[in-house]
């Protein structure tokens, strides 16, 4: 179970870096071509629904990244393998960016479809809270100067934060004061066209590549940061 990060692993990551960057750019270019030019406009929403191709992948990866974050924090506590701590720390900020992107693109999309930038419904708000959970994790780590301690403390917080996600997501049912606008469910119905699925799929793949690329860069960054902090202290 105990995986030790060796120098040749880092070398491997390093050498994969240019390919990953290239693949990411390539996927985004293809995805952009499909999502902006090659797919038809939606018959209800018109061209504004092209925002979906960046909004939905961002939202998915925002949630997925937090799950990985919390998961690797749990694994860290169980196995005491520092690798998981490094993984958690390298992935957190990418997740935060995706969350922010999903919020921004979502609310830009909301203006033409709902007529307002923002509604205070459960899903949107849960996303906003997710954003602050990321912030809490990242900045709590920075605010504690004993970094060993900081990792433990912020990992504990990340795990606790995970509980909040299902609670707030389920609150869609309990929280009667609001209802989800119909436009979302219409789109997510299975009637979605293949011509829309292709760009969505490519953009999702591109976002995933981006997640991996940047996470691996941050992985190296975190490792070297640890070393620098250790020697300078």
């Amino acid at each position: 179970m105990y995986i030790k990060i060796k120098n040749n692993h880092i070398e491997l990551i390093k050498s994969a870096n240019p390919y990953l960057i290239f693949a990411t750019i390539f996927a985004f270019v293809i995805g952009l071509y499909y999502s902006l030019f090659q797919s038809p406009p939606d018959y209800i929403q018109g061209d504004s629904m092209r925002i979906m191709y960046i909004h939905v992948p961002s939202a998915w990866f925002a949630l997925m990244t937090y799950s990985i974050l919390a998961g690797s924090c749990v694994l860290w506590f169980i196995t005491r393998n520092p690798l998981f701590n490094v993984v958690a720390r390298s992935i957190a900020q990418v997740g935060m960016i995706f969350t922010l992107m999903s919020l921004i693109t979502g609310s830009i999309w909301g203006k033409p479809t709902w007529g307002v930038w923002w509604v205070w419904d459960a899903r949107l708000t849960s996303m906003l809270i997710l954003f602050f959970l990321y912030i809490a994790y990242i900045f709590l780590w920075q605010a504690i100067s004993n970094k060993e301690l900081a990792s433990k403390i912020s990992a504990a917080l990340a795990i606790i934060g995970f509980i909040n996600i299902p609670i707030i997501k389920f609150s869609v049912d309990w929280w009667n004061t609001l209802h989800q606008p119909a436009s979302i469910s219409k789109l997510s119905a299975p009637s979605i066209d293949v011509s829309m699925l292709i760009p969505l799929f490519i953009m999702t793949a591109a976002c995933f590549l981006f997640l991996v690329t940047v996470s691996l860069i941050r992985f190296r960054l975190v490792l070297i940061e640890n070393k620098v902090l250790r020697t300078s202290n």
């Binding site: 602050f132 403390i153 504990a156 606790i160 609150s171 309990w174």
Partner: protein
Amino acid sequence: MSNLIKRDLLLSFYSSANFFFTVSFFILILMLIPFAFGTQTEQLKVLFRGVVWIALALSIIITVDRIYNADYEDGNLDIIMQKNKTIEYLIISKYITHWFIYCLPLLVILPLLSFLFYLDYLETTQIFINLFIGSFGMVFIANFVSALTLGARRTIFLKAIIMIPLFVPFIIFGSDAGSWPILLALSMLSFVISIYVTAYGLRLYGE
């Protein structure tokens, strides 16, 4: 355990965080409603339900530093941890005193205040029950946040940013009249989490 409660109550009484002050604080906060939002009776009622929760959250946020920080900084936490080797008792005492000092006053004046805001008997009772249950949960959360951030740069903002998202479920269900069972579940959940995490944080910083 009872010693620690006694001591904390006495300390808060001496440092003029006494009953009178906390009550005044709550009254002042709630008094801001008509000033800030106007005085239509119907609206006041709705606002009142929400603002009691915000007032409670505020009271807990601004006092989160008192739970462990003050004692940590002046060295009393060492004595406390030495005398209460079963750290769980220590933490439970802290829950009790923190609730007692910073939440109870709100509950005590709630009937009076809801009277001023034209709420009827039934509505008051509902709010009271929700507040009673929810306040415990919020205290549990504040405790572990306080313990986790003992060594962090003394910044109440960071603590607020950590706490508010965790308070959100309480505020959502709290302002909804009938949902006390959910609040109860939330409070119990936060109790279980809090007691572990607080103990973890305190042990870490004991070093």
